[in-house]
Symmetry: D2
């Protein structure tokens, strides 16, 4: 057991930290000004930063093994944390969700033609993509509820359904989506679903509306409600084979959750910094807020909870590296619940420390809160993950390992 | 001791409920469409509803005694709760903050000329107003921090300062503000401040920018940051006399907090209704969400906490009626902290029950959350109110009654 | 709506307060010394205080209407709160559980002979009694689980079963018990059970062992595990009739829970007093603990939560008076959960404020904690009461009113 | 970074686990029977188990380096966790507090004569010892409050003071104590204190009374209130030198807190096991408690919180090994607060799952709860540790590093 990062990992951390400090964060205002000015095209600043990152070799670091930057999940995790400190910087490194998950899927399950056509431009950062899983009409906490149909018709599949929270659909560069739906409603529960590639310009594919999150439109990314009406795509677009949709979904979620959690820890760390700076700079009742013991308690607990969550995420990453996501099921579920909850508390305390500035746009805190709040719902609500953990505990004592 | 509302109170509740059901809620979509269409003029639907409410005698009910509708705070409280269920309906009855507080101040402390010029059109709903107290540069938790200066110069006062969270400043009808500032920085701590009437068209009075709450702009109301630069108003605009600003502020906050808390209880009640309806209508793992025991616990506690808070607010209202706000200091502080915290938990649970719909604009929940979250900061943060309660407890046991 | 107690209620409060101050609390050390000296006989001090209380008319005040002291539940509640401040004083007034519940049952459901034989000496404070409901082998959260059998055999019923948490079984004066068991396991779910009187000296009735609560034996009261082995009692001992056991149990629990909750509020109030006194008297880091803002927050919230719970208990008492326990089902369940939870938090904070003194016998806090902790389990765990509240909410929106 | 224990560590874990399973746990009933029978002598079973453990080389494993068993803190931590599962087993391995801390002090600061006379028999398990620091009259949260005086008088020191929570003072084998007191009240704040060896049979050294914890007397260990009245010990008994008491106290607390926290994690793990077994074996409302989703949430969170705390403790142990306790100040404070809080929640949930059995002596849960509750107070209350963590955070941002 050893809690020090390897020299290699420390080296990558240093590179990413320096790149962020030198090339990215100084352009924050410029980037947002370009977004506000015209959110229908990719902000030029982003394209420039992406080119620089790619040239610097800080590119696709999320993808384990040689196809990415040759990093393990454990080595990548601290990099994700750094990118998470600001809501917009992961894209610079081509490490933003849900493109990362889609690239992983195509990398692991896509055939050569699919990889040539879609994985290549995704890994080059030329296009962006969405993952269409959640549906407005059913409880997404139970994946078997999915209603979208993918029906074979000769050389094509015909897709009908309604999806929402399709992240990236507002992005100027979005080109393709991976859609989850049922190919065989008569099959065994977890063999009914398939995943299929659907380009966004396919007839019948329609963005119904963009969704807001606590008042934020999250431009230029955006979350959409999408209707698929008799959308026809060639059979070659099916990923891996009929009935493997559930398996693919499970596979993508392991590392993806690690990434989310690490970014969340970056956000919590930044919220704590902002809180401490505020507490040190404001005075009430003849002493700095920092000296009021109620804030000492909150700051103490914030530090403790960040450290505990970070270790847990690192351990889960290490387990995925060692034994695969399947064998880290409990650990992944644990951090999926724990990290956002931890961050929400710290961000909320930081808001309170800032007073009115905390709920406004003068600090990033309110938007962070909104963003992290969605993570208690996305990829399965807390309740379902706690259920999974509990079932694994029950199984240790002879409990029926119900799914 | 008697927990049943009086016949009179029940009668008023019935009238307001019916008016809301018949005349107001059916026009919700129309109202918002008008706001979206042009937020720079008062939506015609609002004017029509206001006229109807006034004609029906459902007008200015917040103002105790004969100058309003002849209701006590206790009788008014359930009406405020009903108005609070929707974020926009209090204005229909001319019962919206901060106009209510400004009317109270002018009613209690204004002289005849001030009442004729400003109270009359406010009570007629012809203009709207703002209250400029909080400042961006200092901790508003300690009122003695205020930096705005109100300096006598012959027949005028000259005002310099920067205020924010000036609610109503985005409203098309806003005409006047009441500004809190220091007339004498050498006086005893609580005699330094004064309140003065400043029309929004006075030279040097400038809206610097509008603020957002989480991602909401809260049009058409709006919260502004306001700069006052050598703003000159005649000495007649001073309210009550130099040095009485703190006293006036204290007075306005008692009933005002009751109103806020009752509205918050209305929101919590509505969030609980939405949550229950959702739980009954969604299925996961082969049973309705309502049957999952974790939701039974949350619903049970939601009902309990709403009931406890409602009783406490009613008792505080009753105490103000019986003995004045000064003698209800602890009770008012108690609900100021307890009601928003209770509501935030219930709204958050309701969001969780709704999944993605909860954080989006498909339900009012996320906006409710944002709005209630500000109440843990506005009019003094939780920490300061708990401090006040604690000091009163300490005093019972010989503790020094530090302010 | 009126939050002031009636003159009559205030008068009774004054009488009980004065009696406690003058006749009871000064004898606390004497009473406990007698218990320690010989816990197998009734401490003489208790008998003397009981005689005084009875003479003063402060006797059986819990029993509504003319058979007691002529008080309503609402009038009695504040008296129970005062008695609850110390764990041992309710007996002085013949107002201690579970005798109170047993008296109520005999009063409402007992026939004349049962009342003459058992209710009379109970109301005279000459004997004490136990209620045998909970069983060690099954989850008591679901009353239908009960396994004890009450079988008719000619002119007798034969009882077999095992009960525990039979409070009072350690008391020197305990003479009779009321036993809950099934007379007909084939009947409808809630018609299977009956209640029957069993004197403690009946052959086959055996105290297996005394139970501790945390490390407390709670002498002289005591909680027992009791075995009933072919216990034969005459058919006249059956209360109300076969199959009415569940109905009787429901009836007893309404007011009984009010009593428990009021006593718990008395305990919380006392814990807050002890906490404040401690905070004012100790110094750390150059100021009194009271001045540390973390304690201000805790004290502020303690006061708030006590007030909210007290109002809720008073309202529930009022509802029972007005409309019967059946119509106050949600309100009773609400306080059953809320009051102990509130008190545990305050007692725990008070323990923390006292340091080592808090967990030891130097303060009553640790024993209070242990006692109140049992109330989250006794008479149905929190989870079952929240379930009941939730089901009532669901029913408002068309949810199936499952029991 | 590597989350797998070393082979050496795993080997030791296996040895201790097997020894506990084979030689210790089977004798639990026998041990307690001997304690109950006569708590004034060392239970023979304990002496036999100690001899076996020593022979097996499972002895003094807590002491880092060659003087103990050659283990690091990181290697020892999982062994402490195993010992912590039962409240009484650490003594078998001579690894019980406060003897461990006293041995560390004598090992690091004692001179040769002190080590020969006291460290040797302690390490042989022949005697036991106490540490006399906390005082009843002052807030122990602020160590500068200590009132005990250690005054030089020729070749002796004369000690006067009152101590409490002196653990081990009830043990039949207790022979010596280390006493903290002030030798120079005029010196700089942290140079006023000294530590000195006081044999329990020194004239003037008196056990005033034994203290209980939530009703438990914790025999045979016991916590005492001790009076020192003109206690004279030779100057050779002073440890390290006048004025070094604070430094010694700080040194002992680092590893000691790790040990406590690991034992607490063992308790939490055992409470979770008991909870799960109970949930699987009880039925309510036609399904096992385990299937009620509220319990899924609690079990899920219990597992998550145990894992997070365990990692944090292991990391703190690793930091002490790498860089010394001084450089792990924040990490040690973090787990000192987090581990007991985590365990209390899980034990409390386990109590709730067990109903009446949970609060009684039928499970170890209530006693565990009492024991862990004291850890939120002992060695500095939570509030002081959070204060330390916060001050370290403040210092990162230029905050004054106030002690």
């Amino acid at each position: 057991m050893e809690f020090q990062h390897s020299d290699k990992a420390l080296h990558w951390q240093e590179r990413v930290r320096r790149f962020l400090d030198d090339k990215v964060l100084p352009r924050e205002a410029e980037y947002w000004a370009q977004v506000r000015e015209d959110s229908t095209r990719q902000p030029p600043a982003m394209d420039e930063m992406k080119a620089q990152a790619r040239e610097a070799g800080l590119w696709n670091m999320f993808l384990p093994g040689d196809h990415g930057a040759g990093l393990t999940n454990l080595e990548y995790a601290p990099l994700a944390e750094m990118m998470g400190r600001h809501l917009w910087t992961a894209e610079v490194f081509n490490c933003n969700a849900p493109d990362t998950g889609n690239m992983e899927v195509l990398h692991m399950y896509g055939n050569e033609a699919q990889q040539a056509k879609w994985l290549k431009p995704l890994m080059a950062g030329e296009i962006r993509s969405a993952f269409l899983m959640t549906e407005p009409e059913v409880a997404s906490s139970d994946a078997t509820n999915i209603q979208t149909r993918i029906e074979r018709d000769g050389d094509h599949y015909v897709i009908n359904g309604r999806k929402w929270w399709s992240t990236n659909m507002g992005h100027p560069n979005v080109a393709m989506t991976i859609v989850m739906g049922k190919t065989d409603t008569g099959a065994a529960t977890h063999a009914q679903q398939s995943q299929i590639i659907v380009p966004v310009d396919t007839p019948g594919f329609r963005v119904e509306r963009m969704l807001s999150v606590f008042g934020y439109d999250e431009k230029p990314i955006g979350h959409a409600e999408v209707v698929l009406e008799n959308v026809r795509v060639p059979v070659e677009n099916l990923i891996a084979g009929e009935g493997r949709g559930f398996e693919i979904a499970q596979g993508r979620l392991g590392p993806g959750r690690i990434h989310h959690c690490m970014r969340v820890i970056g956000m919590a760390e930044r919220a704590l910094e902002l809180m401490v700076q505020r507490l040190l700079s404001r005075t009430a009742f003849r002493k700095s807020l920092a000296e009021h013991s109620v804030w000492e308690q909150r700051v103490g607990e914030a530090r403790t909870n960040i450290e505990m969550c970070r270790l847990s995420v690192l351990k889960a990453a290490w387990m995925i590296d060692q034994a695969g996501a399947k064998n880290a099921k409990s650990e992944i579920a644990q951090i999926k619940v724990a990290a956002p909850r931890m961050a929400l508390q710290i961000i909320d305390d930081a808001i309170q420390a800032h007073g009115g500035a905390g709920v406004s746009a003068d600090t990033p805190l309110a938007e962070m809160y909104a963003m992290v709040r969605t993570l208690r719902i996305a990829d399965g609500p807390d309740e379902v993950h706690n259920r999974s953990i509990a079932r694994l505990e029950y199984a240790k004592h002879g409990g029926r390992p119900v799914r």
